[in-house]
Point group: C2
Chain length 304, copies 2
């Protein structure tokens, strides 16, 4: 089995084999677990490989060149594990690095920006309103204008107001989801959004769904919150169907699947224990399979 | 000059030449500029090379193994630039990686933990009080117990109370030095310190001096705040004197030196523009010499 000619290699990878490969997900750290949760719920017949780049988190304050490099290294690692589709769960990496990732790996790749933007526009249409959409995200995602551009692509007449909320990530990681300080900081950050009278607000960072209650109370019940991870899971479902890539041979029935069960494999670049702790808080379960790996300089070492 | 035999190499490196080499400083990012400022003020006859690992900041939530690796890569980079002494400005790297750094580079190395701890003990002695010392730092520094151990080494009967303040770094970087939310968060974090009735409080993270006013008002005027960077600069001054390593040939007089002037060289691993902006806010001047460099996998590439 190890010694295969070019020809037998082709025979080894028919469509049916590709269909049974896992879906790869990467994030800068733990935040992407909210995207994994959404994918798992919408696609109980699929299995997943998740990579959290916990050694280099966060991406949101870093430069384009650095986010691109990290994103490519993460993608190459997952590609080397044999995946049929790549989901870039990290908003910052989706905003800054999607074209370079696609150049570097020959695998269907989907980010969270496009799905989040399209969902926001369709929700406002369903409500028969003109799309007036707020976006909250990291500094790097806001500066990239990626959401604003994607929303305009979905609806030319959409109005977009964006703002960065740098303290939301550490507040979510501290678990301060009900504290008065969090409400006070949210009021400050979201003032611009409230004044713009938006009808939908995109949670453009994987950590923000954890502060969902605080955000909803601050902007008011009339504003629909869009979780980009949820929107992405819906598009992945469609994509697998269109491309005839849905898994057909998973050894468990959909009703038997559990979050973090032994069909899903988790990798982190650092601090696996901390990751397991946060996973339990976010998902109610610790990963059955969790490994620490190195992805640094994968491309560089290859050149030597 | 490039082709030198082993012998002429030795002649090229007499004590006088070593004395004229710069002092190396590294930090996980911009916070170490507060340590650079202190060194510059105490040692106007020295020149400095500063490395900020902005591509991998922060270190305070990462594991021992990862912080060690990053610290060694940074130290090797500075050693390759020809420094006579290394100052580890980052508290987390000082707490976790000092022994491994010393093993890996044959250069006198000083961290910020020891000096901060000794200064705290000597201050309480000057006030004729039993050392009852508070320490605030990152999660990793607190977990390492490095300050507590160093304080106990300086005074066996010292009492130490420690607490991590994870939101202080993003608050400092947001520039929220006067906001009500910062005071409210400080009150929450420092409650344990206030209840312990400490007489000195070590600011065990390079960012914390930026929130000095908030911290002082929260713990009360009777508590002496110890800036580990300041304490380190005082010890470096003594060390250069003892080892006969003080520079004697700087092309500018002490009175002509300015922070960030062209005698000091700054390197960052990412986002040089952002670094320059923060440097101006912290120091009132932008670095005259600032370069982006790669330090990743320095040791790994060497093995190939």
């Amino acid at each position: 089995m190890n010694k295969v000619s070019g020809q037998s290699k082709t025979i080894q990878n028919p469509k049916s084999k590709i269909r049974n490969q896992p879906i790869g997900i990467f994030d800068s750290g733990v935040g992407g677990l909210t995207v994994y949760r959404a994918l798992h719920a919408h696609l109980p017949n699929e299995h997943f490989i998740y990579l959290g780049d916990t050694a280099r988190v966060p991406y949101g304050t870093k430069s384009l060149a650095t986010v691109e490099r990290y994103a490519i290294e993460n993608s190459q690692f997952l590609a080397s594990r044999g995946i049929k589709l790549l989901v870039v769960a990290c908003n910052t990496a989706s905003a800054l690095a999607l074209p370079r990732i696609r150049e570097n790996i020959g695998i269907e790749t989907i980010g969270v920006i496009g799905p989040g933007a399209r969902k926001a526009v369709s929700i406002t249409r369903e409500k028969n309103e003109n799309p007036n959409i707020g976006v909250i995200a990291t500094e790097a995602t806001v500066s990239s204008n990626a959401y604003a551009k994607a929303i305009k692509r979905a609806s030319e007449k959409a109005e977009v107001v964006q703002t960065a909320c740098p303290l939301f990530v550490p507040l979510a990681e501290e678990g301060w989801t009900k504290e008065a300080e969090t409400f006070s900081i949210a009021k400050k950050y979201l003032q611009k959004i409230v004044e713009a009278n938006v009808n939908a607000l995109v949670l453009g960072c994987t950590h923000y769904p954890i502060l969902r209650d605080v955000i909803q109370k601050t902007v008011g019940e009339n504003v629909t919150l869009i979780d980009s991870g949820e929107a992405t899971a819906e598009e992945v479902f469609q994509l697998l169907d269109e491309k005839n890539l849905a898994n057909e041979t998973l050894p468990k029935r959909a009703s038997e699947r559990r979050l973090c069960d032994d069909l899903d494999h988790f990798y982190v670049t650092d601090a696996a224990e901390r990751f397991a702790r946060v996973a339990e808080r976010f998902l109610g379960a610790k990963p059955a399979k969790l490994e620490a790996v190195e992805v640094f300089g994968i491309d560089k070492l290859k050149d030597n």
